[in-house]
């Protein structure tokens, strides 16, 4: 807490020059430092803080020795040896598993929660308010502490329907879909509420069904929030570790997160394996970072619209 109190005044010093109106009101008169220098200083420090662990992983992944102790912040030598090791092992399989699981579960849960948010935003029905609050409460139960229950449940499922049981991507995907209505529904409902109802009403007068209103009018308008929830779902599923580590035991069914954890789990060999691990982390980051950059224009607006509306 002390950090907050000491940080806020510092923060406001940066604020002097920022909102356009204040700038117009006179701080544009000040020297370069007052106008933009301070902003650049804060920006550069934040950038350095953000970048240096990433720089370290990238340079470790190109480090020919491949050990933790010889990895530096700035690469001294360049070699693809770690990547060759990585791709000659089980990693390509893990990576594909991760991509399949994350993209399917993100896409389906995006659709499911968009449907639910549409219902909560556009219809008035019995149990609507309790439903919304209930959704919030269920999220607060530490989901993975129910892992014993989930484990026993999937032991039965594996016996009855092996194709959606342990060690299958399908099983993990449907399990992740359990969390599809959660915070996402709230985020989306907030966004849906900002779209004027007159739109759907005039469409209905023209004879559109609720189905056409949803798919034809609302969904295209909420593309930003769909992008956000899709991205969050994708990142979440790529990063999910605990449930995946319990459910995926066979080497060829593992996701990249579980597999990479295994690479440096043994304290005796982790120094030597670090380069390969770093290469894996870099490869795993590529899809999320690429998606992130591609969707960036939606992200700022989308997140806050949801957050502001609660």
């Amino acid at each position: 807490m002390t950090t907050t109190t000491s940080d806020v005044p510092v923060a406001t010093r940066g604020a002097e020059g920022d909102p356009p109106e204040v700038a117009r009101l006179g701080s544009a008169k000040g020297g370069w430092f007052r106008r933009t220098g301070l902003s650049h200083l804060v920006g550069i420090l934040a950038l350095a803080f953000s970048i240096f662990p990433i720089l370290f992983v990238v340079s470790a992944s190109f480090n020919p020795t491949g050990t933790l102790s010889s990895s530096t912040l700035i690469p001294r030598e360049f070699s693809l040896a770690n990547y060759q090791d990585l791709f000659s092992g089980s990693f390509p399989r893990w990576f594909v598993n991760s991509l399949i699981i994350a993209s399917i579960s993100a896409a389906v849960s995006m659709l499911i929660s968009a449907c639910a948010a549409f219902a909560f935003s556009r219809f008035r029905f019995m149990g609507r308010r309790p439903g919304l609050i209930g959704l919030l409460l269920v999220q607060m139960f530490p989901q993975f502490l129910a892992i014993v229950a989930l484990y026993l449940m999937f032991a039965n499922i594996t016996e009855l329907w092996p194709s959606i049981g342990f060690n299958t991507a399908a099983g993990l995907i449907i399990l992740y879909l359990g969390g599809a209505l959660g915070v996402n529904t709230w985020l989306m409902k907030g966004f849906f509420d900002t779209i004027p109802k007159d739109l759907d009403e005039s469409a209905k007068i023209d004879g559109a069904t609720h189905f056409q209103v949803f798919f034809g009018i609302i969904l295209p308008l909420v593309a930003p929030i769909l992008a956000i929830t899709g991205l969050l779902g994708f990142i979440g599923a790529i990063n999910e570790f605990l449930i995946a580590s319990v459910f995926l035991r066979q080497d060829d069914s593992k996701t990249a997160a579980v597999g990479l954890y295994g690479l440096i789990a043994d304290p005796l060999t982790k120094n030597a394996q670090f380069g390969e691990f770093a290469a894996g982390a870099v490869v795993l980051a590529i899809p999320t970072v690429a998606l992130f950059m591609y969707l960036q224009r939606y992200i700022v607006g989308g997140l806050t619209a949801g957050a502001v509306k609660g």
């Binding site: 807490m1 907050t4 701080s27 953000s50 549409f118 219902a119 530490p142 440096i264 997140l303 502001v308």
Partner: protein, 508 residues
């Protein structure tokens, strides 16, 4: 439109069929009834024109009920039982297991050639014994239900009456697979009329007589060799030594224990002491994480919200990069950067600190990692919120002569807080149970020498995880009770804060 409906309902019917067939095969009529009821409900909802909201809510709700609500309900009910290693099944199963485990080889025991296999998947399927009797040249399969003949032609053997190498419907285990399931195999026995069949090494099994047997009359277990007697205690779920000289039998059964697990948290001295300490650190951790990420995010957002500044997009994209990196891998990278012997941080600072070795430095390292992973998100959200605050408010204050800092403190900051309060609360709730942040970095350490089960940076959730799955035997009942307590704490804090920010009142 009609086509979508037909395809959708067709898909639904296919799923229902997929779900129903194995249930019919295993005579699971209750399961079948539930599948049919759910399918009928779904057909009704999508064919009838009236329940429009339900058409949109059904898919998500079904998944939510099956994979979140049911496990939660099960966990809550487990909290009131003694479910743990040795207390998993029914009393009958416990008796069978005790009798089976006490089987000893007797002089005229039949010796079988054994092949270890499973029914289904090698890692999770039930253990079975594929047995060949070298004297009679008969082949059997032994399951937990008993011994059955293996049909001719359904298996392959090295020689008639020799070791079985493959059998239909069963997976023969390889040596590494056997090693992975050593405990299951040792505990396994095939009940027979005269006793049970146990394994002896990897390729032989013998039929022997149990030394300990259950007597319904006295509801007790007697050991034939030593004469010790254990009486069943139905409130504890254990066989208790009658004269108090012997320890309880390790194998018990699952019974309800009421609020005992909850009482243990508050009455057991070791647990109570560490529990309070963990709760305090857990709150500090969650609040500090939200506070420092918010503070730094705000500082950077304000600095970069300067319209006169060039290159803002570049700054922005690079600063939020950590948010897009895979968090699991980055926790591990940070852990290794803090590594005492080889870590980057010690090398850069020319220190030799064991970061996760002392409480203070461990907490510092964890919070620094949290700051790195979290402030980018706050930065993003605050940037958006800043842009949505109407500019005429601040402008008007400026016209009235307010200094920029004063205008920020009295107008912008309160508006930001109102806008972001729900997000800060959810962030608190998430971090309160941030398992990865601890498990992947300090693992809860350092541990006080007198209590190796509760580390000084443990969160309730990592502490519970250790209780449930940790080295000294799994205690699910107690772990479930702690989960329920965690849930109550988080829910109470969140509801109170939501009430205070009136976020819930505004649901419209």
């Amino acid at each position: 439109m009609l086509l979508v409906k037909v395809v959708g309902l067709g898909f639904l019917a296919a799923v229902a069929l997929f779900a129903a067939l194995p249930l019919i095969r295993t005579d699971n009529w209750w399961g079948l009834a539930i599948v049919l009821a759910v399918t009928a409900l779904a057909f009704y909802i999508y064919l009838s024109p009236r329940p429009v909201p339900l058409k949109y809510l059904l898919p998500g709700t079904l998944f939510l009920i099956v994979f979140q609500v049911l496990p939660v309900v099960y966990t809550v009910s487990t909290a009131f039982t003694n479910f743990s290693d040795g207390h998993r099944g029914t009393k009958e199963q416990a008796i069978t297991a005790i009798e089976g485990a006490s089987v000893k080889q007797v002089p005229d025991s039949t010796i079988y050639t054994l092949t270890l296999a499973t029914d289904g998947d090698a890692a999770t399927g039930d253990i079975v014994f594929l047995l060949a009797d070298p004297t009679t040249q008969d082949s059997f399969v032994g399951t937990a239900d008993g011994l059955e003949d293996l049909g001719d032609g359904s298996f392959e053997a090295a020689s008639p009456g020799g070791k079985i190498t493959a059998a239909d419907d069963y997976t023969v285990l390889t040596v590494p697979e056997i090693n992975a399931r050593q405990d299951d195999i040792t505990a396994f026995s095939v009940p027979t009329d005269d006793g049970a069949i146990k394994s002896q090494g990897l390729s032989a099994a013998f039929e022997g007589a149990p030394q300990q047997s259950y007597d319904e009359g006295c509801d007790c277990i007697t050991d034939a060799t030593t004469g010790n007697v254990w009486t069943a205690d139905d409130s504890e779920g254990s066989f208790v030594s009658k004269d108090g000289t012997q320890r309880n039998l390790a194998q018990g059964w699952k019974v309800g224990v009421g609020f005992d697990n909850f009482a243990r948290v508050f009455t057991n001295d070791t647990i109570r002491g560490s529990f309070l300490r963990i709760v305090v650190w857990n709150f500090a951790f969650a609040i500090a994480t939200v506070a420092i990420t918010f503070a730094l995010g705000l500082l950077v957002a304000i600095a970069l919200n300067n319209p006169l500044m060039r290159g803002r997009t570049i700054y922005r994209s690079l600063i939020i990069l950590p948010y897009a990196m895979p968090g699991i891998a980055m926790y591990l990278v940070w852990r290794e950067m803090f590594n005492k012997d080889f870590g980057l941080i010690n090398r850069l600072l020319h220190t030799d600190l064991n970061w996760f070795g002392s409480t203070a430095s461990s907490m510092f390292a964890i919070l620094l990692i949290q700051l790195w992973l979290g402030y980018n998100y706050m930065f993003l959200v605050i940037t958006g919120a800043l842009q949505s605050i109407p500019s005429d408010l601040v402008e008007a204050a400026g016209v009235d002569g307010a200094k920029p800092f004063y205008a920020f403190r009295t107008i912008t900051f309160p508006l930001l807080l109102v806008a972001l309060a729900p997000l800060l609360i959810t962030s608190f709730a998430f971090n309160f149970n941030n398992f990865s942040a601890i498990f992947l970095t300090s693992k809860g350490g350092p541990f006080p020498p007198d209590n190796p089960s509760a580390g000084s940076t443990d969160l309730l959730i990592t502490y519970t995880y250790r209780l449930a799955f940790g080295g000294s035997g799994a205690d699910y009942g107690f772990a479930a009770a702690v989960s329920v307590l965690i849930f109550l704490i988080v829910a109470a804090v969140s509801i109170v804060s939501f009430r205070r920010t009136q976020a819930l009142e505004e649901i419209n």
